[in-house]
Amino acid sequence: MTHDTDVLVIGAGPAGAVAAWEAKRAAPELDVVLLERDARVGTPVRCAEGVGDGGLREFADPDGAPWVARKITRVVFVAPDDTEVKVAERDVGWILDRTRFDAYLAQRAVALGAELLVSTEASAMTCEPDGRWCVRLRGTEGEATCRARVVIGTDGVEAMVGRWAGLDTRVPARDMESCAQYVVEGIDVDPDAIYLQFGAGIAPGGYAWVFPKSPGVANVGLGLVALKADARNARQYLDAWIARRYPRGAKTACTVGGVIVHTTIRQTYTDGVLVAGDAAHMINPLSGGGIVNAMKAGRLAGRVATAAIRAGDTSASRLSAYHAGWMELLGDDHLKYYRLKRALEDLDDQFFNSLARTANAIPPEKRTLGRIFAHALVRHPQLIPVAARFFI
């Protein structure tokens, strides 16, 4: 069976759902198919589920939404020696219920006329002489093929679409965070705050997090760079951390995954193909956050793809507008954040412990990230070259 479409979006996470939605919104007359490998959009959840307020509101209104688990109004940084630094911010962000959030985004695309195929995975794709891509599909009802004018690859960290299209999506080992997370019940944390702890013995090259979903229940996880770790894997580091910090917590629902803390792949497009979100390494390399980035890239991809199809030109040179647009929007900022990340890697636990004491000397109500940074530059001159790396 062969299915023809204008746009085929592979992967129904935030990038894919927004790409499909934007494609139908921009060009209702075009056919858009959204593919999801799992039986349900939004499962399994491989995510800490935190998202900033401003970025989220570009796409959906979180106030009272059923796909929100918790509003976050405080950030607490925890130094390697357990010194807590509460940062004063307002409207910081939200902890999502990704199962519901992803389903909501996909449903929005379907409501505009996109066709959603679940339990269906793309297993290969080849370019035909007329420039269309022929994608082999495997689903519960057997094999099929789908021919598309533009394929948008939003297939996450594994990035098979990019690979099939000849794009280089490989990651150096030092820029891959190995992550593990449990939903932990029965822990005593501020349900309105997220906690981030750094430390070479806790999460080397990354950080550990507590993102509350409801009072007493939180996503508790960590990401580390294996090259900096001892012989233990991410889940073993996490088990040790939880045993020390939350010995009475009940661990449920373990998930693991990779977060690419690199910069956008050199080329995110080729003839008839765009890649977006984690698949194109569009993650903030400093925070590891990627949900809003994925949605912004998906929106751009949906827009550029439909404009190209309408113009009858889906060549790489036409689709390169997507890459340029992304780099201007966020990709160039990620290059700066990446340089900052690399510079911060040289600082040790002793430095972060001492930085925490400097920060806590600022009165709590005035303790914003900006002020902490300004005080830190004065008190810790070793930060000056780090700050310089951000700009140079």
């Binding site: 297993s123 996450g156 080992a173 891959m176 190995s178 894997n233």
Partner: protein
Amino acid sequence: MQPAPAFPEIAVVDLQVCDRCGLCLPLCPPEAIHLALTDLVVDRSTCTGCRKCIAPCPVGALTMVPA
């Protein structure tokens, strides 16, 4: 860095332990690892035994075996 093994080795995945998260795919320089819905496969003829996928696996599902 691991010393070069006396005999060639390749990576294998323990499917009982693997969570199919896909982390190892972009780490593989020769792109020898493939993920399908039900299994994750290391292509024996493509794997160069470089070990880059071993330590980063969050659950330790990848190990080296004689080629």
